[in-house]
């Protein structure tokens, strides 16, 4: 049976992990490769690296990181942040990334989704969508939720699916950072309206939140950062608990 996936997300700046990493047993928790190896060894199913650097060397630094991760880590990983062209994706995939995640660049130029899926296959194209519920409607936002667009979450998700996205990574800006649980109503609706996997993001605070997002939110994967980085939730314990609840997981 296809397992539900647990996906730690690492924010990367200039080749180093930023904010919220506090692993007591790592020599260097700022080293993304060390952290990635640790997560792979403790049962993470997949990793996401989100690059937030804004320097001129960012591409070279990111490519080196991707290469190091691919060399040392034996689970799949997705790279996102600032990707806006076929060339960007080509170099990341060539260096060992399994998937790329695009967000603002897809909103600005939706045709990018078609170009990437035609050239590299849908399976490596994750479209990340940040949305905020305003007056009862889910509105797609850019720049980490700061800038609203005209797009409705469900319409936009359907559009990128038709353009060839292989997966949707949906972050609820209402839930992100709250540690109050995932946006399960919106997630469930995405899962019902689309026929590609949905990754839940934003709001993980405890084990029950993961159970809820897989059961009520019908999510295929759940992404979280701080609860893992601060070891508030240990992945082996989380997976044992999910299994007890009848949720298929890889143990």
């Amino acid at each position: 049976m296809l397992a539900k996936r647990i996906v730690p997300c690492l924010d990367i700046k200039n080749g180093r992990t930023v904010k919220g990493v506090n692993f007591v047993d790592l020599r260097d928790a700022g080293d993304p490769v060390e952290l990635a190896k640790k997560y792979a060894a403790t049962g993470a199913d997949e990793l996401v690296f989100l690059d937030i650097s804004a320097t001129e060397e960012r591409r070279r630094t990111l490519v080196n990181l991707v290469r190091d991760v691919a060399a040392q880590v034996n689970i799949p990983f997705t790279v996102g942040g600032g990707i806006s062209s076929v060339e960007d994706v080509d170099i990341l995939l060539q260096n060992g990334a399994d998937k790329v995640s695009i967000n603002s660049s897809a909103v600005k130029r939706p045709q990018l989704v078609n170009e990437l899926s035609q050239k590299f296959g849908s399976q490596c194209v994750v479209v990340a969508i940040d949305a905020k519920k305003i007056d009862g409607e889910w509105i797609v936002h850019l720049v980490g939720g700061k800038v609203p667009t005209e797009l409705n979450l469900f319409d936009w998700a359907k559009e990128v699916e038709e353009r060839g996205a292989g997966e949707i990574l949906f972050t609820s800006m209402n839930n992100d950072g709250t540690k109050d649980g995932f946006a399960n109503d919106a997630l469930a609706r995405l899962s019902e309206e689309l026929n590609i996997p949905i990754i839940a993001s934003g709001g993980a605070g405890n084990v029950q939140h993961f159970i809820d997002t897989f059961k009520d939110g019908k999510a295929d994967a759940a992404l979280a950062a701080s609860v893992f980085h601060f070891q508030e939730i240990e992945i082996p314990d989380l997976k044992q608990e999910l299994k007890k609840q009848g949720i298929p997981v890889r143990l």
Binding site: M1, L2, A3, K4, R5, A40, D45, E46, R67, A70, A71, Q72, N74, I75, P76, L93, Q94, N95, G96, A97, D98, Q118, K119, F120, G121, S122, Q123, C124, G166, E167, N195, I196, P197, D220, A221, R250
Partner: protein, 193 residues
């Protein structure tokens, strides 16, 4: 041991090379016919779309070479699918090593299948020390149905072949290079054939 990964422009071959290096071996990336023929083990990777991958194979003449190889050959993901007779993806005629036609998953399940799924009915030396029901990482929209050449099955809406074998030819739908320690074990078993 000389290990050659066929490099014909399709997909994430660095990851396979890295996985082989983690096992303590080196691998050569090549599309040179003589280099491939002289290898002890050949890995035939592939990610992407079937008809364009097949075009790239034809452009290098490898489509006629691969089926004649006599050493152990491992097709991974699209590599395995291209070793089949035919694929619905892009209406593609394959290499015909495996006597089976590749089909698209019906929309009763989410397509592509992305993630970790279990392999069962393990019937080959390449699964030595791998438990029934082990999880492997899969990313695909097309599948090979069950056939007499099936050596592992997976359930996703239906039961299908996640691994095939005919004589010296092996094919796996999953990505052993991305499937943690069990995946590494399967790669190592293949290299030890």
């Amino acid at each position: 041991m000389k290990i050659v990964i066929i490099n014909y422009g399709a997909g994430n071959i660095q990851s396979i090379r890295f996985a082989i290096e983690r096992l303590g071996y080196d691998a050569i990336l090549s599309n040179d016919v003589e280099e491939i023929k002289s290898a002890d083990k050949v890995i035939f990777p592939g990610v992407g779309e079937a008809s364009s991958a097949m075009k790239m194979l034809k452009a290098t003449g490898l489509d006629t070479v691969i089926p004649t190889l006599t050493q152990p050959v491992l097709g991974i993901c699209l590599g395995m699918q291209l070793m089949c007779k035919y694929s619905e993806e892009g209406d593609t005629t394959g290499l015909g090593v495996f006597d089976v036609d590749v089909k698209r998953f019906e929309n009763i399940v989410k397509v592509p299948q992305i993630g970790w799924n279990q392999i069962s009915g393990l019937g080959s030396k390449i699964f030595n020390n791998v438990k029934e029901g082990a999880y492997m990482y899969l990313v695909h929209s097309y599948y090979a149905p069950l056939t007499k050449e099936t050596i592992a099955t997976t359930e996703y809406g239906i039961q299908y072949s996640t691994a095939l074998q005919k004589a010296n030819f092996y094919g796996v739908q999953f990505h052993p290079e991305k499937s943690s320690t069990d995946g590494a074990q399967i790669l190592e078993n293949f290299l030890n054939l």
